[in-house]
Every structure is written in C-alpha cells, then in structure tokens.
Symmetry: C2
Subunit: 458 residues, 2 copies
C-alpha cells in the first residue's frame, strides 16, 4: 500500500480534529457582522498550508474576503498542473431552532459530523489539503504540480474571484481545476459531475402606502403590497411549473435523446426520494423526469418572502411594503445577466396597479459542462475506482458553482468535480452533515488522483 | 357655562398627565409576555373609578384579561341607562424602527400625543372616564344612569367578552351602549358612525418537504411552499379586486341607491386621500367608490406573510414551510363563521399539488348597523353640535368592533359610536397619535351627551 495511504490512516484522528476546529469558525460570508470569523477561517487555512510545506503561501486580499493560496511546482514541466479550488465561507445557519446541535459546534452522530459547512465546503475542500499533506509528509513531493486557492465568498456569489483570476492569470495557469463541492450519486455510489446549473438571484420589493394602515379603515380601497407581491410571484410560473417569463427558455440547449436515456438509466428511486422529503408527490416542469427537473432544466424558486405582521396573534394591518428573494437555476446556454433583465422587465409588466415595484439583482453565474472525454476525468474516475471499489457515475447536478464557468473562461481550464458529499447532507439546511468515512475516502481519492494523473497521457 | 365644563378646562393638564401614565403601560393583548402590563392597565383604570366615586367598582376576572367595571345608578328609574364601553389593550407596536419616538413613551408634537393606544382606544375611552368624573366632582351626580366596562382583549377579538355579557346580563342591562373607538370624518368635522364592518381573520400554513432544501440540488423537482402560498393568495381575488371565494358575496346586503347618494354627498377629497398615503392611484373592487370600498363593501387583505430566508444577502434555499395571516372585512349580513368555512374550503380547493395546507381561524365578528332614528343618536348629535359648533355627519366605517353586534344580541342595546379620533391617527401603525384638543372636546361632548340625553324623549 502506498505510504501516503498509510499516513492517511495513521492521522485519521488528527485530520478530524483539525476539520472540527475549522467548522467551529462561523465564517458566514452573507452576514457582515461575521467578517472577523471569515478572516479567522482564512488564517486557519493559511497556517495549514505553511505547516504542510506548500510554497508561496499567502493571503491575497480582495475588496471582500481574502483568497488563501499555496503551491507545489516541482513535479516537473512534463507533469500536468492541477489548480485545487474550494471555499472556507458558509451559508447562514438559520432557522437556528431546527438544529439538533449547535451549527458551529461540530458533533459526531453515527459516523457523520454535524455542523454548518461540514459538507459545503469546508469538509470537502479539506480532503485535498490533507491529501497534499500526506504526499509531502511521506514522499517529500507531489507527482503533479499543484496550486491551491481557497476563497471566502462562494456563498455570496464569489464577487471578487473573477477579478482575482484575471489579475493572477499567470500565477494560476493550470491544465485543470479540481473541485470537491458536489455530491456523490448515493452512499457508496461515487459520481463525477460533468454539468452544473447557473444562477440568477433576484430581490423584489413592493411598496404600497407610505405607512402601515389599519385594514378596516383603509382595506378595500388601497392596493395591498402583500397581495400584489403574491400576484406577481404567482404569475412567474404556470400550473405545470413552466416559467412564464418571455424569452426565459430561448437559449436553453434541449436535452439530447442520449442524455435522457443515460439519465433514465441512473439508479434513482423516486419513492425513496419522496419518502426522504416526506412529500406526497413530486412537482415540476411538465414533460420531464424528477432527475431532469432537478439537474438539467432551469427553475424558478422563491427563497424567502416577508411583509406585514409575522408575530403571535392577529394584527389587522394593511402593510406598507413587502419583499421576496427569488432565484432561477439556469442551464447552458442561458445567460444570467440576460435572464435577470427578462425577469425584471416581466415583473414590472405584471405588477398590479397601486404599488411601486423595485427589482434588484443579487449575484448570478453561468451553467457549466465538462467534456466527458477530458483526460482529467479519466484519472479521477480511476482514483475513485481504486478507493471506492467501483467506477463512478457521470452526472449533471442542479447546484451552481458559477466559478467553474469562470475558470474555463479566464484560465481556459476544465473542472473536475470530485464530489464526496451526499444529497442527504442537508447543505444550506439545518443539521448539515458530512460522512467522516467519505472524508477519509475523499482524502485518499484525492491523493490517488494525483498519482494516476501523473501517468495518464494528455 | 355648565360647571362640569369649567371643571374640564381647569383640570386639562392633569387629565393629559393621567392619560400619558396610562399610555406608558404596554398593554399589548396579542403578546403573551405582556400579560403583566395588560393587568397593570386594568388596575390603573380601576383606581380611577374608585377615586372619582363610581359604585360597585371591581375587576371581573375572565379566562383572559380582566374587565374593569364601575357604575352610577342613582339618576332615577325614569332616566335612561348608558353602558359605556372601551378597551385598555393595544395593538403590537411593530415595526418599531418606524416610530419617531418610543411607542410607550407618550410625546406631544403640535398638539397631538404620539403613543401606541393614544387614539385606539385608551385616549378615546378615557374621555368618558373624565366626563363622568367632571359630573361627579361638580354636581355630585350624573343626569343619567351610567355603567362602564373597559375590557382588555379588544385587539384580539374580545374572546371572553360575550361570555361576560351573558353571565352579567342583569348587571349590564342598559338602554344604549356608548363607544368611542372610531374616527371623525375629518378634523373639525364630527361624525357618528352608524355602520361597522365585521371580520374573519385566518391563518394559512403551507408545508412542503420535511426540511429546508438546497434550491440547486432539489429546485425544479419539489413544490416550493412559498410559490404555492403565493399561488393560493393570488387565487383569492381577481384583477378587479373581486373576492373569488364561492359564496363570499351571497349574504351581502347591497347598497341602496339612497345610501350611495348619501355617501357621494360626503365631503371626501380623493386626491387628498391619495396624497396622504403617497399612492399613485387607489385600487379596489370594481364598480364602487373609494368611500364605499373602505366602509360598505367586504374585503380580503393579507396582513402578514413569512417563509424562507429574510436576512441579508442571498440564501439559495427551498424552504420547508410558509405562512400568512389573511383577514376579511365583512358587511351585513355576512356571517364570520360561514365566511371562515368558505375561505377554508376554497383554500384547500385551490392549493397546488405537493404541499400540505392547514387553515386556522383567528377571531371574527359580525358587522353592525344602528337605526338612524334611534333617540340616543339624536342626543349624541346635539352634544357634538354644542361642543364642535356643527352637526355631525352620519357615516359607515370600515373598521370592526365585533362586540357592537354582541351588545345588540345579548343586551338588546344599540350602540352610539361617538368617535373623537381621526383617520390620520395611524392606529395599528407606527406613530399612532391622538389630538389633545379632541381629547378635551371629547370629554366635553361626552359630559354634554349625558345631560342632553336626560331630557330627550325615548
């Protein structure tokens, strides 16, 4: 057995404890009051890089949160260069009351560690950090050239990463990008994601009267911003789940018959899916399967809504304003900017009389697809097989990692999405978790990938 | 000038200070944590009754908040008996950030006192308390028999008042009920409200998956409770503001041509109305005027809505659940229970697939109308004219005072709605206020009313 495998087994405990330390840092990028915690997480990673012996380690400042960088470039010119990418920031933990244990106090239950960021993405990103350490501490080298960037703004749309990539184009030059921020198809069923959805995230504000009104004194004579907002949102999709925004589907690349056939062959159990969510039936765009709906077709979902009295009891108020966060998952070749513009125009168009509507654009990102014949995927597939004992499936995922498209655009590099998480990890939800077994298998798969890649012909 | 008028002028300052003390008590009946404050307000009124020399003063306990009682029954059998009603509980003050000064620290600006409850109903109810005091302290008597009940649950639908009325039917026997919990038509334009709307207040919960989901991993394949809730709410009214619930209008008594003509004659300035609310245009049920829409026609308004992420930034979540508070203002002869049942059935009927919907009924109340020929109204009209120097207008108001219908049903007594507030008082809104001039004119009008009533023939 390779010495780095032995090393990974010997340091199992320490690797877990280090991960838990990282998970204790509430590095929530969406909440400005957590800025200090976000930086602390960056410093934590930087120290790791120094200790394991990476070169050129440093925190690159950005207008937002810093990017942690480290590299090993002594494998030789003839060896490929892998850019490892991950993020140390996390989603907000609310609704807090639904967490069984504290979101920032990692707790292990039946082999899973529960904490915000456990799977998305601290736990997964950390597999590569420990894989690199295992090589350097046992062989004193890496078989391929490796550059690592761990950023702190992925959960808010990586607003400063593209400028960073452009500014350090040479430093970051690579043959491929390695990312673990996706899920395996199922427990013990490794998969490699070759397609990701894009995102357009909007915020809609509806303003009615200049103050909250008594619903008896004014009700019936004044447009209610809450009713108006609901009317707008209801107008965005029809009963068949089809988005009604004119032009929304214009640039969508239709699923090929092969793709639909491939997708239909995947071992997906719809009843188990419904049971795991406790829903009586699935719902989505008419004419597509559940797998297609959640991975290969565009969507529109309300992520949050507010307005009026949300407290205990009954308050007879006609509220002055209301708001909602609405996001759309996109597929090739939808353009986030164009979709955001179409959304904005349509919302104004269907807004009822008597209210003022303001639409703001949060972050967005392009969908991405990696060529299935890319040699990096071949090496990744082999590494998975060597560690998990079975060939990985190749799938498309519904989530968005906008920077995958940016890596292609700016660095010309394809991404290898080597996911070690599970869809049941409840990322972005209360009680997020990550399997410690997959944490260790992930470290081994990453370490093995470097070795296989060194031998694969480009 | 009557001695009680002199007394009222002499004690102006003290009356205001006493009112401010009452306004400092955050007696919010909708919030259970304010239970102690609610009781404190009741004790405050009780002490007032004792000090001014009312008889039979006591706090009647209920399953909820106590009813304060006091009476003067020595005017003689031949004199009418007036039951004065008011409430010492108030609406929640939120949104707090929109208050220019603390909601429970009364502040005087250009002759108005700003505080939650200033107009609804502490300030208005207090006018009668001080009117009675003025008679007793100057004449040592009242010209008519008077009973006073001030309750503490009006803002949550007076759940315990009807049982109280039934239990103390004899004690509360009266010829009429006097209530000041409405508004004058306009500043210096006194009016008597002869019609009030009823209310049916509902809460709708929509449950989707068993936990918040990642909108990328699951979006498109699972019904989103927020989208579903908006679809339901949008289905409750059409674009013309007409409620779509089958049977909703069945029991509505149509406005007579006279009533519509009367209403059209009222000095209502629609442009001023729009300007005061900073709305570009009014909106309501097609085929009716603004005055009719806000006073004589039934309505449906969302009072509050919530679900998903409401915080800063963008959270890509597909929420597990959503909820809304929805209330309907009713007119004769709509029955709140029947309307609530129709609402519930219709909501379930139009609820989209993939979610579970639960509908709960908060409090409700019947609409009420007082016969315009009632002799009590004649006396009230005279009192207004003597104090304000002009005859009051007779109007219908959009608000609800459900117990007005209950007084008629249980005690067989018509109510005289002697409003001293203004629609611009912002009741149920931030910066609620009450004109101190009208506070004093109200005390005089009430005191004068007792005297006129003693002479009017039934």
């Amino acid at each position: 057995m390779a010495r780095y495998f032995e090393y990974i087994d010997q340091h199992k405990e320490r690797f877990e404890q280090e991960l838990f330390d990282l998970l204790r840092i509430p590095s929530i990028s969406a909440v400005s009051s957590n800025k200090g915690d976000v930086r602390q997480a960056a410093e934590f990673i930087r120290e790791q890089f120094d200790q394991m012996g990476l070169n050129g380690v440093q925190l690159f400042e950005t207008p937002g949160n810093p990017v942690v960088y480290g590299e090993y470039m002594d494998a030789g010119r003839d060896k490929p260069t892998v850019l490892v990418y991950g993020h140390y920031d996390v989603q907000p933990p609310d609704p807090l009351e639904l967490w069984e244990t504290e979101p920032f106090e990692p707790t292990v239950r039946n082999g899973d560690v529960y904490a915000r960021g456990a799977s998305d993405d601290k736990g997964q990103a950390y597999t590569h950090v420990k894989a690199i350490e295992s090589w350097l501490k046992t062989e004193g080298r890496l078989p391929v050239n490796v550059k690592v960037i761990i950023e702190g703004e992925e959960e808010i749309g990586s607003p400063n990463l593209v400028p960073f990539l452009q500014e350090h184009k040479e430093m970051l030059a690579c043959d491929m990008v390695l990312i673990s921020d996706t899920s395996m198809f199922d427990k013990d069923v490794p998969s490699i994601t070759y397609g990701l959805r894009g995102l357009a995230y909007m915020q809609v504000y509806v303003q009615g009267p200049n103050r909250d009104l008594h619903s008896g004194t004014y009700g019936g004579a004044v447009q209610n911003p809450l009713n108006a907002l609901c009317e707008i949102i209801a107008g965005l999709k029809d009963k068949d789940g089809v988005v009604q925004i004119p032009g929304f589907y214009d640039d969508v690349i239709a699923l090929s018959d092969e793709e639909r056939a491939e997708s239909a062959r995947l071992p997906f159990d719809e009843q188990a899916f419904k049971d795991s969510l406790a829903i009586g039936q699935v719902f989505g765009e008419k004419g597509y399967t559940t797998l297609e709906r959640k991975s290969s077709r565009p969507t529109l979902d309300v992520n949050g809504i507010w307005g009026g009295y949300q407290g205990e009891g009954a308050k007879t108020v006609l509220p002055a304003k209301a708001g909602a966060k609405i996001s759309m998952r996109l597929v090739p070749d939808q353009d986030p900017k164009k979709i955001a513009a179409l959304f904005t125009r349509y919302v104004h168009q269907i807004a009822p009389a008597g209210v003022t509507v303001v639409v703001e654009e949060h972050h967005g990102g392009h969908a991405a697809m990696t060529d299935l014949n890319f040699y990096g995927l071949e090496a990744a597939s082999q590494a998975f097989e060597d560690v998990y004992g079975r060939k990985p499936l190749f799938t498309r995922e519904g989530g968005s990692i906008p920077i995958v498209a940016d890596f292609k655009k700016v660095l010309g590099a394809d991404s290898i999405l080597m996911g070690f998480g599970l869809n049941s990890d409840a990322i972005h939800s209360p009680n997020e978790k990550f399997s410690l077994e997959d944490f260790h298998r992930g470290i081994k798969t990453s370490a093995r990938f470097f070795e296989v890649l060194a031998g694969v012909k480009a």
